[in-house]
């Protein structure tokens, strides 16, 4: 079997052998439901789309994704199993990818368990299912981006709590950096290109376009780099741990 798959299988086994996975799934589904129906006012809006469902995802993932990913590497460091893993005949890349795929797969599973909302909106009206599909893709990519950041912060420390807090802070800044209350004060002191550069890091516009059913290569490239760069940083951190 491919070593990446072996790593993935072990990680998933680790999730489902403990109650953590089930607790997470229940909390995720309860929270998406609560936000969509009570705060997002899904019924009162009387619109056949999932905008009140997707609009909360950047905020929900802000806490839930670091909770899933915080143990990825910090636990290996705490237990000392990092030494075991890195002296096996596999490259660090295979371990990083295997672990990432396992956690991302788990997040995608959680996301796909929200299918009743899709079923509900189709029962009540006739929404644009293409836009809903791209919305789901965007949500999964965003979760992957947050997760890659958590993988990086988790390699930085053997303490899961520190890893959690660091990744929440980084992800929060990715959510907020395009928001006017953040960009306006910046615009007062810095030239326009810096402000625009900072704002370009924001996940929001990219996720918004995918929610509207627009698949733009720029958005895809953004999300792929959001996943790829922190994973690369993870490999650099792990290499530096060994010397």
């Amino acid at each position: 079997m491919n070593p990446i798959l072996t790593i993935t299988k072990r990680e998933l086994g680790g999730f489902f052998n403990s109650p953590v996975a089930y607790v997470f799934l229940v909390i995720f589904l309860l929270m998406t439901g609560a936000f969509t129906f009570f705060i997002g006012q899904f019924f009162d809006r009387a619109q056949a789309n999932l905008q009140p469902f997707f609009m909360w995802h950047p905020w929900l993932y802000l806490f839930l994704v670091p909770a899933v990913g915080m143990r990825l590497w910090s636990e290996e460091r705490r237990l000392g199993t990092l030494e075991l893993l890195l002296t096996m005949p596999i490259s660090p890349w295979q371990s990083i990818t295997g672990k990432f795929i396992a956690s991302w797969g788990f997040l995608i599973l959680a996301l796909s368990l929200t299918f009743p909302i899709w079923w509900t909106v189709n029962d009540l009206g006739s929404p644009d299912n293409g836009a809903i599909f791209t919305g789901y893709i965007g949500s999964a990519l965003m979760a992957g981006g947050y997760l890659a950041i958590t993988s990086m912060t988790s390699a930085l420390t053997r303490n899961q709590v520190i890893s959690f807090i660091l990744s929440v802070v980084i992800c929060l800044s990715l959510v907020l950096c395009g928001w006017p209350p953040v960009t306006d004060p910046l615009a007062a002191y810095f030239p326009n290109w810096i402000v625009e550069g900072v704002a370009a890091f924001s996940v929001m516009p990219h996720f918004d376009r995918l929610q509207q059913g627009v698949i733009d290569s720029r958005d895809l490239i953004y999300f792929i780099s959001l996943i790829g760069f922190p994973l690369f940083a993870t490999s650099v951190i792990i290499r530096s741990l060994r010397s």
Partner: protein
């Protein structure tokens, strides 16, 4: 099989391993001795490719560990210090994972797990979760992980640490048995272990190799090696000392204990390596003086003396 050439490792200003070279061939069991912090673990971590060396080369089965890490790692089994394990798995699941990562699948995997479980006496805990295991079982699970793919080369960092005397004995005989067909390096600071299991021993101190030889060769370096101890009943200590002083072959006589009526004296030979002559002469002196001899015994030398002498004198130089 393992070739270490001029290996060095520095952590910032601290030199952990300083220009270490040695080789281990198939059929050899190399004991790695040294005080804590001497650089044993660091050397093993460089051999297994966990940390890159600052300078020097490690070749495992002809593969440079830095340049061809995957090929080199495939040949090795490694038991890191304190035997880290994934605590959220069962013993069987963990061994299965280690086998799969090493590319063993299907029926071969089941066979490899059975073999490792048999060899390491893990049958009783096969389906138990790793975090409920006692220290001895944990250690043996780590050991089983290292031999799951029947490697040609085994590197073990303190394999008997934390085991009870029976388990220590089991692990040592396991190492001895496997040593017939493999190249094995293990570190320890228990000296009997070296005598019990090794074909060769290296003493390392402050990152440098300070002695390299068979356990017998190392023991011969002891000051006490080839001296004789005579235990005599009912004679004054001074008389014993004077009497033994007349022995031509002796360089020095010391009284070890003087608890009337028994006096124990030690006679050192003039040159190292003298054979039975000295013993014969002591016997003759005793017979002439009509001493009641309880015991005359030749000392083979003690490894712990050698160890202490080598590693302490080094410290004093600094």
């Amino acid at each position: 099989m393992i070739k270490v050439e001029n290996l060095s490792k520095t952590f910032g200003p601290k030199v952990a391993v300083n220009d270490v070279s040695f080789t281990v061939e198939r059929g050899e069991i190399l004991g790695f001795l040294g005080p804590n912090g001497a650089g044993k673990s660091t050397t093993m971590r460089m051999i297994t490719g966990y940390i890159p060396p600052t300078a020097g080369v490690v070749k495992v089965g002809g593969n440079d560990v830095t340049e061809k890490p995957i090929e080199a790692k495939r040949l090795m089994g490694y038991l890191p210090e304190s035997a880290p394990l994934y605590t959220d798995m069962t013993v069987e699941g963990f061994l299965g994972f280690c086998a799969e990562v090493r590319g063993i699948k299907g029926a071969d995997k089941a066979k490899a797990i059975d073999r490792a479980i048999d060899m390491c006496f893990l049958k009783a805990v096969r389906h138990q979760s790793v975090d409920t295991l006692s220290k001895g079982f944990r250690h043996r699970t780590g050991f089983a992980q290292a031999i799951i793919h029947d490697p040609d080369i085994l590197v073990m960092d303190e394999p008997t640490d934390g085991l009870d005397p029976n388990q220590k004995h089991e692990v040592r005989s396991l190492i001895r048995r496997m040593g017939q067909s493999k190249a094995i390096i293990f570190s320890t600071h228990i000296l009997e272990e070296v005598e019990a299991a090794c074909t060769r021993a290296i003493i390392i101190d402050q990152g440098k190799i300070v002695a390299n030889g068979t356990p017998e060769e190392l023991k011969a370096k002891s000051e006490l090696a080839n001296s004789y101890v005579a235990s005599i009943n009912g004679t004054e200590a001074s008389a014993v000392r004077d009497g033994l002083g007349t022995v031509i072959q002796s360089a020095k006589v010391t009284i070890v204990t003087d608890k009337a009526p028994i006096v124990v004296a030690r006679v050192f030979p003039k040159k190292a390596g003298a054979d039975g002559e000295l013993g014969q002469a002591i016997f003759d002196v005793a017979a002439q003086n009509n001493w009641k001899v309880n015991e005359i015994k030749k000392e083979e030398g003690r490894l712990d003396d050698v160890f202490r002498n080598i590693t302490l004198s080094d410290n004093q130089v600094q």
